[in-house]
Subunit: 352 residues, 4 copies
């Protein structure tokens, strides 16, 4: 696993298991001289932390971050930031009964096959807890992007088959599921509570919009902006697909429909989702990702143990019946990292 580093000029390297001592991240390449403090980062951490509402896991990690390096007198110095979170609510014993069984939908089996050894406590490195480190790094990138006038917002577009029909950015942080339609949000909350009671879970779709990005970002032919965003998103555990702009609908469109024509005021449509030829057009970047249903469910399922014996398993523990609300800040964080990194790469390309 040398896969814990992400980015080229703005770079993060994460560490930490769900029930180890701590999780954290080193962020390299941060522009020096920028005001940044722990409180700024904490705002994003609090959006991801468990226990925010009735629809999220009650595990109590206060997720209080500390900056251990890379700032001086309230400003970044250009040296690596290390941001750390201690794990404070570890209950490894809760996982004792599953240490020899592979939970369906979880990475237990694949980690075992890859490494030959597995920290089974709360999924170890494969836990969603690892994304806390990403959110911390993403907050640093967000700080840099603010100065460029770039804003990034993600939200639940669909949960368990219930789809938002309106879009109001102001309601997103005001409902427990981070949906963009308050009426859909109510039904989503009801559904999730019902599924929790049934010991089941559901998936959904999260949409992300990035505004204010200059045209010209992205590095053909392999490090296209959409390619990098796709990698960033698919690197989040629960995400199984991504589409830009018209996305999979493009399969049913004609060229005459899909092409974004222009007039003197700019593009007339945005089927491309703000990226053409792997380079930002200057228009809003829009993508959607599909979030699979939470793997941890308490209804019984068939599996095998490490010796290959057939077993039945019910995952008892503290889990989110739907990951969408808490994955929203993770998606934003990854998008922040990608966009800021590409601004820096473009600066390197054009520099004289």
């Amino acid at each position: 696993m040398a896969g814990s580093t992400f980015g080229e000029r703005l770079k993060m390297t994460t560490f930490g298991e769900s029930h180890g001592e701590a999780v954290g991240v080193i962020v390299e390449g941060v522009t020096p001289g920028v005001e940044l403090d722990e409180a700024y980062i904490q705002v994003q951490m609090d959006r991801r932390k468990p226990g925010q509402s009735s629809v999220t896991t009650p595990r109590k990690e206060y997720d209080k971050i500390r900056i251990l390096s890379g700032t001086f007198e309230g400003r970044t110095t250009g040296t690596p930031l290390c941001i750390m979170l201690n794990n404070t609510d570890m209950r490894p014993s809760a996982y004792d009964d599953i240490k020899s069984m592979y939970r369906p939908g979880h990475a237990d089996y694949t980690y075992e096959k890859k490494y030959g050894i597995r920290d089974y406590r709360g999924s170890g490195r494969a836990s969603g807890r690892e994304t806390a480190a990403r959110v911390a790094a993403g907050a640093v990138a967000r700080r840099l992007l603010e100065r460029r006038g770039v804003s990034i917002v993600a939200y639940s577009l669909e949960i368990g088959g219930i789809r938002c029909e309106t879009f109001d950015e102001n309601v997103i942080e005001r409902n427990a599921v981070r949906a963009c339609d308050p009426s859909a949000a109510e039904r989503m909350v009801e559904l999730i509570e019902r599924l929790a009671a049934e010991g089941n879970s559901c998936g959904g779709i999260v949409e992300c919009r990035i505004r204010g990005v200059a045209p010209g970002l992205g590095e053909p032919v392999f490090d296209k902006l959409d390619a990098e965003l796709a990698k960033a998103m698919l690197s989040i555990g629960a995400i199984k697909g991504i589409e830009f702009g018209a996305g999979f609908e493009a399969a049913n469109m004609r060229g005459s429909e899909h092409n974004d024509q222009m007039d003197a005021s700019g593009f007339l449509t945005n089927h491309a989702g703000g990226i053409i030829g792997g380079i930002s057009t200057g228009d809003e970047i829009v993508f959607r990702v599909v979030v699979k249903p939470t793997s941890s469910i308490s209804s019984p399922q068939r599996t095998v143990d490490m010796e290959g014996n057939e077993r039945e398993i019910a995952t008892i523990g503290r889990h989110d019946p739907c990951i969408c609300p808490r994955v929203v800040p993770v998606i934003e964080a990854m998008a922040c990292m990608v966009i800021e990194d590409h601004y820096k790469r473009q600066a390197a390309l054009l520099d004289e």
Copy 2:
């Protein structure tokens, strides 16, 4: 643009514009001592080359590759392979009328914004011709994967709204659209011919299946196998989305449905698409990508020129009304590169 290199231990770096002297690729990290000749690679080139049938562009590039380095007496030496294709059917004059206009759906505008200069001849570096270099590199990776017993096949699952209803792998290379259902293939060909006559184009969905992959490939947390495949696929110009296994359908599933349960014989389902926690399960890897309708259409569209004046444009030239048939070998090539690279990374991890 330092984005022309892909891969870590098996690595390709491509060069070349559509109407420059040549396109080509350097492949680094190739296992030494493996039998490989130009004929083996040519087979894949011929699957991507233009002019194969009534539904592809009549541009005549024989796409005859030459290996300039990295082999000796019919075997790889472990040193970089350079594989080159001369451009033989260049007609730059055909593009003179569009050198100052941005074609809708094309990367003309974004290249201009990024680089401040643009090789407008046949889209230059943004041309699909660049993918010929990828297919050459992919053939090298395919050769290495054969020895591991891994096979990769892609095919058109849906074109212009017509979807395959049966799956017969044997028919794929026997119909002009590389569909897996011969009856759907006939209707697809008819549709494409009609669209060509109308000066229009259509999109589609290509599915890819990778078999024989050992469990354990993929490098959490960022270089997950699905994340790397997603980047690889989205780096192909016409592709606007990807989904693994159940994909976007997962948004409508419950955890109890989506989780792949196991018995002593293995996984009972494959909703995960052969990758869990970013690591291969050993099951078939399955993903689908959406291919946008070809941007080049001859029906008139609105655009602007470099001075910002509103103009009308009709892209005359030699183009595929649907990219699916020819993108199939490109998708396979990229998948070959990703899988072989991850075998090598896993070898590095476990090595003692």
Copy 3:
């Protein structure tokens, strides 16, 4: 500064300033299943820590490391190790008088020019303290190399003009300067003590020998084994040059002298220093580095302040009058990282 990551398949990323909260390192790509605990790493830390003898700075950092992630039940898991050291003996006030002046030989001026901001407390990121993180990572690599039968030893060959005339590996850790000749060691200690009293410092030469390396490591043409070792060594603050085998003496040799001839038992000489064409020969790898005199001296020197005014400065503080003894474990650590990384790269190359 995105330059805080080193290595390809075995990779370290360091963070931390001299007088910040902590310094530390994330090590990625560690072979899973290997026994490793804090005590093993601590042995190396103790060799680098200050206050070991009369010739080293009395700053009291116990340099007690903690492993925060990547091990489970006493074994590595293949996930990133985070190893951290708190800074416990910070006296930032001691540096207040120099915050506006550039100390000769120090990186004060260059950090200011590069970043436009500078954590002046004890040189901040440019402090030798940063190398503690390298030693921790190097200990992990050393653990992996042990299993391969590779051993790495460095020692002071020359200090302040006094050169070792005998070589006894057993005495190295038994004298305060880590010299390979006990009689020279005594004179070196005397010299250093005298220079300390005079407020001056001296340089030296450290030699490193790596044994048991298999032939075949190194990645031409750019990532040659000697090229990577050279980068590793020159990345250590005080080191200003490196030479392999016969080194600069080769300038005075004829081809007939320098060439290492072979007979059936192997190489007859080792002027190449164990690396030919950038690849290990299987013979002992030998290189020497030059260590500049410690920049911090208390005798007065000319400099300027941030406003460009001419000033005089005497660096009062806790410093080593000669860096050689404490840089020895840092050199070994960097060598360990390079060699283990190249074993892993070779495994990736050859893997079938």
Copy 4:
């Protein structure tokens, strides 16, 4: 061998064996819009090519380069440049007698051990011919540096024990050994001619000076400017050591001597060689490398063959008795790549 790529934002990937079809390089990340043509690059190629004088190998490679991509109408486009040289004077038969023997000082043995297969024709990939590709890439970097006012010059400081005693930059390109002292140059030429007649060879020292570099380049803590230059230089086959500024002399200096003090007009000395803390000071960057004696000599030497039998070998062929004169442009080329790359990285760091 995935080691054929060098650089981060300005990046080159080389290919080619000594007696294969061609050698060449892809240069990525080139600033777009810069005037560049083949003639500009050819000037540098001609400085490296064989057959320039009585002291270089008579092998006749006209080393005529072609740019295959990445420029348009005389300007760079920001897309990868592929620059190629055909091999025109191949005489593989000349190497038949040595295909089963390991030439002392050559990489025959190590390539065999690493790859298990070896292109023995003229050293294959390990040949000095590979550096032609570097010189081509370096010329591109030089073109970019010119616009920044940076100049790079290298020269033979010492050959076969004869050392330059004066420094006149204007004479360097006017003598066959590229020495900076015309009187020493005469004696060097005599020595080399005599050694050639005797079937022997000699080593030397090349010095490089880089002027006009802004302060602030270099990326601590691992990608320090001197560390990257060291790697670049040691990646050249014949180079066995490097030292910056005072170099190995620093071992005999006191801190009070070595420290570069400042007054209002800048640094009073340059013992650091223009780099402190891994970052350029703005002063001249000065380093020296040691060049080993050419391994190919016609006087008989002991070796073994592939079966381990003891043999005697005399390397007949076309070789330079001293590599210094022709390695000068290679050193400059590598330095150009490193410096321009670091300008681009600095632009990425500071970009807002």
